[in-house]
């Protein structure tokens, strides 16, 4: 609302003075809900509302986190076919890549599955987490999103950058409700906008101009999440000791969970295996 008020005032100011500034205000996710557990407003808070207790909340500090969970995501069976992306028709994209670009929804090398989102699903009862200072970055480069799957904490700033000399629009919907979260355009190379999310949940992001461009933003309440790398590896570091339910989610392969117990200073290794 204030952003738009600013916009209006901007419009009423000088024609030549840019209004770009009005974009940088930290924005909501389009759902007018405060942090809390009212899951009925369809804003996609799907992660363990029941876990949070009003009593006995402890603020998490890095010192409390001594345990680590590492792991790898395996793929068993024949790797699904990857669709080649045809970038023709766009003046920039068609010349941005020399080799064929394949769709990122299945990215399997040597039976390791990339782009799996691993997070602590439950077991953090009682902990409260501060808004992290560092920013996450979602880049658009070569008419692709980088990264394809991005984890972010509620309240954390997400810088969305356009590194291409062509226009992209960033159209995010709350996946569960299909409601609009945000939708705006980045018209020029180097343009950056900042958004943040108030509610946990999965957001599906697309560029409408380039239909092949899509990515997932998963918003969690805690900082313990990672995305599996090309070798399938992931790390959840600086956990407080305890017993956790770890979930691994892939956009095509679905979700798997495991329960792990880690003590102080301990490092445990786990393996997720997906298949068709």
């Amino acid at each position: 609302m204030f952003r738009l008020l600013t916009l209006f005032l901007c419009l009423s100011a000088a024609a030549l003075v840019g209004c770009g500034g009005s974009d940088n205000a930290s924005d909501s996710d389009g759902c007018g809900c405060e942090a809390g557990c009212g899951c009925d407003d369809g804003c996609g808070c799907d992660d363990g509302c029941g876990d949070d207790d009003d009593d006995g909340k402890r603020a998490y500090t890095a010192a409390a986190g001594t345990a680590t969970i590492k792991g790898v995501v395996n793929w068993s069976g024949k790797a699904p076919r990857r669709v080649a992306i045809k970038m023709g028709g766009d003046k920039f994209c068609s010349t941005a890549h020399d080799d064929t670009i394949l769709s990122e929804s299945w990215s399997i090398t040597d039976n390791k599955l990339q782009n799996v989102f691993v997070q602590v699903k439950s077991g953090l009862k009682g902990w409260t987490f501060e808004k992290p200072k560092d920013k996450k970055v979602l880049d658009q480069t070569g008419c692709m999103y980088d990264p394809h799957v991005l984890g972010i904490q509620t309240g954390q700033d997400l810088t969305i950058r356009n590194s291409d000399p062509t226009m992209h629009n960033i159209h995010a919907i709350v996946f569960d409700t299909k409601k609009n979260a945000f939708n705006f355009a980045q018209t020029k190379q180097g343009q950056e906008n900042t958004r943040s999310f108030r509610r946990p949940g999965r957001y599906y992001v697309k560029c409408d101009v380039h239909g092949w461009m899509s990515c997932h933003i998963i918003v969690t309440r805690n900082p313990f999440h990672d995305v599996s790398a090309a070798d399938g590896s992931f790390t959840l570091a600086k956990l407080p000791p305890g017993e956790y339910e770890i979930s691994a989610w892939h956009e095509k392969a679905g979700t798997k969970t495991q329960t792990v117990k880690v003590g102080a200073g301990e490092t445990k290794e786990i393996v997720f295996t997906f298949s068709r």
């Binding site: 045809k86 028709g89 929804s105 226009m167 380039h210 239909g211």
Partner: protein, 290 residues
């Protein structure tokens, strides 16, 4: 009525008086302005240097209509301005004035009616009618059939594949790169359907019939070089026909406001010689590998 009303004839303090001596001072300037604007427009319209040369048979027909209208209405505008300027320059002075009779007035009403009806209806029926018929009424002979899907904010081109039949589709099956056209992967006809991103490849010299459908809002398929334009309506299938007359790469623009990326909804038409087209289409594999 309690208010005392000023008498209509009461004299005003220093009333304004039209000064007849000032004469039509701006008249000459006005003439120059009218003539300049008129002449420049008509000449610039004829030159139309910015219009890409027509690259389709239908486009040539449409260009003929445009030329016809430019000539006929250009003459009307120029003559009209010339007459107006003549009236302004000549003036009437204060000499005796003969009021035009009612007959003259009706006559001057009748002339433009006949003139404009002739010019405009000839334009519609004689000049543009056959082009319209060839676009929408007549059945094209041996056409290439292609489908173009519009979505915010890009075009998706679909060919029927080797079997020559477009497979089933539904919006519920649409998914990103995997299935941008919403094809039914259980339908044999759909398995070999070829998708070609934003580029429409067609052969030269053959009529191309493009079926158009939209996934979300109204778009408009516009190829300026072919002079054709057709809206895409969600929930409906519309069609447009064109016959490319020369090879080359042309642009597809979206002509109907469709959202914030409307201006960037660019596609391309590649017109190839028939043999090259045949080679190209044979080299394409179906989206589902069929």
């Amino acid at each position: 009525m309690t208010e005392t009303v000023e008498s209509p004839t009461a004299p005003d303090p220093k009333p304004y008086q039209w000064n007849n001596g000032s004469g039509p001072g701006g008249g000459a300037l006005l003439l120059i302005a009218f003539f300049l604007i008129g002449t420049i427009t008509v000449i610039a319209g004829f030159m139309a240097g910015w219009r890409p040369p027509a690259a389709s048979e239908e486009g040539q027909g449409i260009d003929e209509t445009i030329t016809y209208l430019l000539v006929s209405t250009g003459v009307i505008v120029l003559v009209g301005h010339a007459v107006l300027c003549w009236f302004l320059l000549k003036g009437g002075g204060t000499s005796e004035y003969r009021r035009p009779s009612a007959k003259t007035e009706w006559l001057f009403g009748l002339i433009p009616v006949i003139l404009m009806l002739a010019i405009s209806e000839a334009g519609v029926l004689i000049v543009s009618g056959p082009v319209w018929d060839s676009l929408f009424v007549e059945k094209p002979v041996n056409p290439v059939r292609v489908e173009v899907i519009g979505k915010q904010f890009e075009w998706i081109v679909r060919y029927p594949g080797k079997d020559g039949i477009f497979g089933k589709f539904a919006l519920k099956w649409v998914h990103g790169v995997d299935n941008p056209a919403g094809l039914d992967d259980t339908d044999d006809n759909a398995l070999d359907d070829v998708l070609n991103g934003k580029v429409l490849v067609v052969p030269v010299g053959r009529p191309v019939v493009v079926s158009l459908r939209s996934h979300d809002v109204i778009h408009s398929f516009f190829v300026p070089d072919f002079r054709v334009k057709q809206d895409l309506l969600p929930g409906y299938t519309t069609e447009i026909k064109f016959t490319p007359t020369r090879t080359g790469k042309f642009e597809i623009a979206c002509a109907e406001l469709c959202g914030l990326g409307h201006y960037n909804m660019r596609g391309e038409v590649h017109v190839l010689p028939q043999e090259e087209y045949d080679t190209w289409i044979r080299s394409q594999t179906g989206h589902f590998g069929g």
